[in-house]
C-alpha cells in the first residue's frame, strides 16, 4: 500500500509539472503583456515594472524562477493587485470555492444515487420516468443557463432567494443547485442502469432467498456493487464541478478562486495564473487519487498493491 501511494505521489508531481510547463508555454505564446493597457507612456516606468516581475529575463530563466516559486509554494505578488500576494488570494478564495464545490458534489452524489436507485426499483414505473426526465433535463441544460434561469425566476421574480454573493446558507442554495444538477443527472442515470443490471444477478436472488429485509438486499447487496461505475466517473465529474465553479462564481459574484482565475487570465496577471492553475491541478490530481483509493475499498477484487505470495 505504501509503495502504491509513493508511486502515485511521484506520478502526481510529474503530472503537475507537465501542467505547469504547458501553462507557462501557453502563457508566453499569447501576445501582449500585463502592462499593455497601462496608460503610462513612460518607457522607464514600464522597464522598471518588468524588471520588478522578472519579465525582462529570457523565457528560460523566467521558467526556472517560476518552477522555483512552485517548489517553494510562494508565488509572489500579484501584478494587478499590488497589495496582495498570490498566496493571499488563494487563501481567501479557496475556502469559499471549496465550500461551494464540496456542497455541490455532495448534493449531486446523494440526490443522484437516491434518484437512480428509486428509478431502478420502480423500473418502468412513474417514478422511473419522472427521475429519468429530470436526469435528461439536467444533462442537457448547461449550468450557466440554469443559473440565470434560477436567478431570474426564484430570486428576481419570486424573491425566495438572494440574487447573488455568498454569505448565509440561503445564498448558497441557488449556486449549489445550478452547479450540482448536471453531475446529479449523470450520476442518477448511471446508478439506475447499473442497479438494473445488478438486481438481476444471482447473488441478489440468493440474498432474497436468505429472507433478508428488502432494504438490506438493496443497500447492502445491490448498491455496493452498482456504485462501481459511479466511482469511475467521479474523477471526470470532479473536474466538471471544478470548471463549473468558474462559471457559477462569475454569475453569482461569489468571491472564490474561480473569479481570480478568470480575471487573472483576462488581465495577463502571470503569477496569479500560475498559482491558481497549479493549485487547481494539484487539487484535482489529489481528488483522482482519492477516487482510486475508494475503488479498492468498494471492490475487494481490485488490489492496489501486490500481495505477498500471489
Amino acid at each position: 500500500m505504501i509503495r502504491y501511494i509513493l508511486k502515485r505521489f511521484f506520478m502526481m508531481i510529474l503530472t503537475i509539472w507537465i501542467i505547469a510547463t504547458l501553462t507557462f508555454v501557453l502563457m508566453n505564446a499569447i501576445p501582449g503583456s500585463p502592462f499593455n493597457e497601462e496608460r503610462t507612456s513612460n518607457e522607464a516606468v514600464q522597464e522598471n515594472l518588468e524588471r520588478h516581475f522578472n519579465l525582462d529575463e529570457p523565457p528560460i530563466v523566467q521558467y526556472f524562477i517560476y518552477l522555483k516559486s512552485i517548489a517553494t509554494l510562494d508565488f509572489g505578488p500579484s501584478i494587478k493587485k499590488p497589495n496582495d500576494t498570490v498566496n493571499d488570494l488563494l487563501a481567501r478564495g479557496f475556502p469559499i470555492s471549496a465550500e461551494l464545490g464540496i456542497i455541490a458534489i455532495l448534493v449531486a452524489l446523494v440526490s443522484g444515487i437516491i434518484l437512480g436507485v428509486l428509478a431502478a426499483l420502480r423500473h418502468n414505473g412513474i417514478i422511473d420516468y419522472l427521475a429519468m426526465m429530470i436526469a435528461v433535463l439536467g444533462i442537457s441544460i448547461p449550468n450557466f443557463v440554469l443559473a440565470t434561469l434560477l436567478i431570474q425566476q426564484l430570486a428576481v421574480n419570486a424573491g425566495f432567494f438572494p440574487v447573488a454573493t455568498w454569505q448565509s446558507p440561503m445564498h448558497m442554495i441557488l449556486p449549489t443547485l445550478a452547479l450540482a444538477t448536471g453531475p446529479m443527472a449523470i450520476i442518477a442515470r448511471l446508478t439506475r442502469s447499473s442497479m438494473l443490471e445488478v438486481l438481476t444477478q444471482d447473488y441478489i436472488k440468493m440474498a432474497r432467498a436468505k429472507g433478508l429485509a428488502p432494504y438490506k438486499v438493496v443497500i447492502k447487496h445491490a448498491l455496493k456493487n452498482a456504485l462501481m461505475p459511479v466511482v469511475t466517473i467521479m474523477g471526470t465529474l470532479l473536474a466538471g464541478i471544478l470548471t463549473g465553479t468558474f462559471v457559477i462564481e462569475k454569475i453569482f459574484a461569489i468571491p472564490g478562486m474561480g473569479k481570480y482565475f478568470v480575471e487573472s487570465i483576462n488581465q495577463r496577471d502571470y503569477p496569479v495564473i500560475m498559482g491558481t492553475t497549479v493549485f487547481y491541478s494539484a487539487f484535482l490530481v489529489f481528488a483522482l487519487f482519492l477516487v482510486d483509493i475508494a475503488y479498492g475499498l468498494l471492490d475487494p477484487r481490485i488490489k492496489l498493491h501486490k500481495e505477498e505470495g500471489n
Binding site: 444477478q201 444471482d202 447473488y203 436472488k205 440468493m206 440474498a207 432474497r208 432467498a209 436468505k210 429472507g211 433478508l212 429485509a213 438490506k216 447492502k220 447487496h221 455496493k224 456493487n225 468498494l298 471492490d299 475487494p300 477484487r301
Partner: protein, 337 residues
C-alpha cells in the same frame, strides 16, 4: 417419516408481450423429512419455476402462481404474505443456486454472507453467529475456516464456493433445501464431492432435499424419488429404482436411452427427436405426442389418465390403458403416417 411439503395442482404463468406462458401446469408432489426428491427434465420444462414458486421467488409482477397450493408444515405458501415469506425463506426453506461463481456477492466477505441470514432471523450475537459459521464451514469441508471467514468469494475455487453456498443455505438449519442444478456448473470430480456432501448433511440434519437437475447421473447417485417433468407437468414419478428400471412413460424411456451406459458397449445413443411444445398454447392432450414413438390418436386429444403400477409409481400415459386396444382408437396415427 413426517410429510413436510405437499404441492397440489400448482399452476404458474408468466405474462409477456407475446402472451401468457404457462410454465407450470398442474404439478403435484409431496416430500417427507430426510428424503431427496429429484425433479428431472430438459431445459424449459418448468422445474426451476416450480422450485422458485415454493420459495415464492418467481419474478413478479410478470410471473404469478395462478392456481394450486404449496402446503409447507400446514401453511399454504402460495397465499402467504411477503413479510411472512421472509421469515420462512432461509430459515425453514433454503435454496442453492446453479452457478457458485455468481451466487456469492463479490464485495462482501464470506463470513458476512454466512452470518447475515442467521443474524436477521435468530437473535444471536456476532460472536455466536461467527461460531456457527465456523461450524458450518467445517461441516461442508472447508479447511482453515477461521481465516477463510475474512476472505472474499474471488479467493475461492468453484467447488469451494459451492460448498460455501451450501453452508449459507444450511446455517439456519432449514427443514427443506431446494437445490437448483447444484452441480451443473462444476466439473465431474467436484460434482461427486458435492453430492457426497449432500448425503452426509442429510444424515446429520435430516433435511429434505428437492434436487433439480437434467443430469440423470446426478439423480442416480443422490435421489430417493424421481419426478420427471415435461412441458410444465410431471409425467412420471416413482422411486429411483422404479423409474430407472421400469420406466413407463415414453419420455422417461427416451431420456434413459439418450445417456451412455457402461454395460452396452459401442451402441449409438438415441436422442429424442423434435422439440418440446410451445407453452404459450400448450397442447390439450399429452404434450409429448409430437415426439412420442408410440403416439396414438387419443394422445393428441385427451390428456392421459394416470397409470399406477405401484403405490409410489405413476405415469401419465395412454399406453397402459386397457381401452387403447380397441381397434377404433388405436393406430390411426400409424396408419396415416
Amino acid at each position: 417419516m413426517k410429510k413436510i411439503l405437499e404441492v397440489n395442482d400448482l399452476h404458474v404463468t408468466f405474462s409477456t408481450y407475446g402472451g401468457e406462458i404457462k410454465a407450470v401446469r398442474g404439478v403435484d408432489f409431496d416430500l417427507h423429512e430426510g428424503e431427496t426428491l429429484a425433479i428431472v427434465g430438459e431445459s424449459g420444462c418448468g422445474k426451476s419455476v416450480t422450485a422458485n414458486s415454493i420459495m415464492r421467488l418467481i419474478p413478479s409482477p410478470a410471473g404469478k402462481i395462478a392456481n394450486g397450493e404449496i402446503i409447507f408444515k400446514g401453511n399454504d405458501l402460495a397465499k402467504e404474505s411477503d413479510k411472512n415469506m421472509r421469515k420462512i425463506r432461509g430459515v425453514d426453506i433454503s435454496m442453492i443456486f446453479q452457478d457458485p461463481m455468481t451466487a456469492l456477492n463479490p464485495t462482501l466477505t464470506i463470513g458476512n454472507q454466512l452470518t447475515e441470514g442467521l443474524r436477521q432471523h435468530k437473535k444471536v450475537s456476532r460472536k455466536e453467529a461467527e461460531q456457527k459459521a465456523l461450524e458450518m464451514l467445517d461441516l461442508v469441508g472447508i479447511p482453515n475456516p477461521k481465516e477463510r471467514l475474512k476472505q472474499y468469494p474471488h479467493q475461492f475455487s468453484g467447488g469451494m464456493r459451492q460448498r460455501i453456498v451450501i453452508a449459507i443455505a444450511l446455517i439456519c438449519e432449514p427443514d427443506l433445501l431446494i437445490a437448483d442444478e447444484p452441480t451443473t456448473a462444476l466439473d465431474v470430480t467436484i460434482q461427486a464431492q458435492i453430492l457426497e456432501l449432500f448425503e452426509t448433511i442429510q444424515e446429520e440434519t435430516n433435511v429434505a432435499i428437492i434436487l433439480i437437475t437434467h443430469d440423470l447421473g446426478v439423480v442416480a447417485k443422490a435421489a430417493d424419488r424421481i419426478a420427471v417433468m415435461y412441458a410444465g407437468k410431471i409425467v412420471e414419478s416413482g422411486t429411483k429404482y422404479e423409474v430407472f428400471y421400469q420406466p413407463k412413460h415414453p419420455y422417461t424411456q427416451g431420456l434413459l436411452n439418450s445417456i451412455p451406459r457402461l454395460d452396452q458397449k459401442g451402441e449409438r445413443l438415441e436422442p429424442i427427436d423434435g422439440t418440446p411444445p410451445d407453452l404459450f398454447s400448450p397442447p390439450v392432450g399429452c404434450p409429448f405426442t409430437a415426439r412420442c414413438p408410440h403416439a396414438m390418436f387419443v394422445c393428441e386429444k385427451v390428456y392421459p389418465l394416470r397409470h399406477e403400477p405401484s403405490e409410489t409409481h405413476y405415469a401419465d400415459c395412454w399406453l397402459y390403458d386397457e381401452r387403447v386396444h380397441t381397434p377404433n382408437l388405436t393406430n390411426k396415427k400409424e396408419e396415416t403416417t
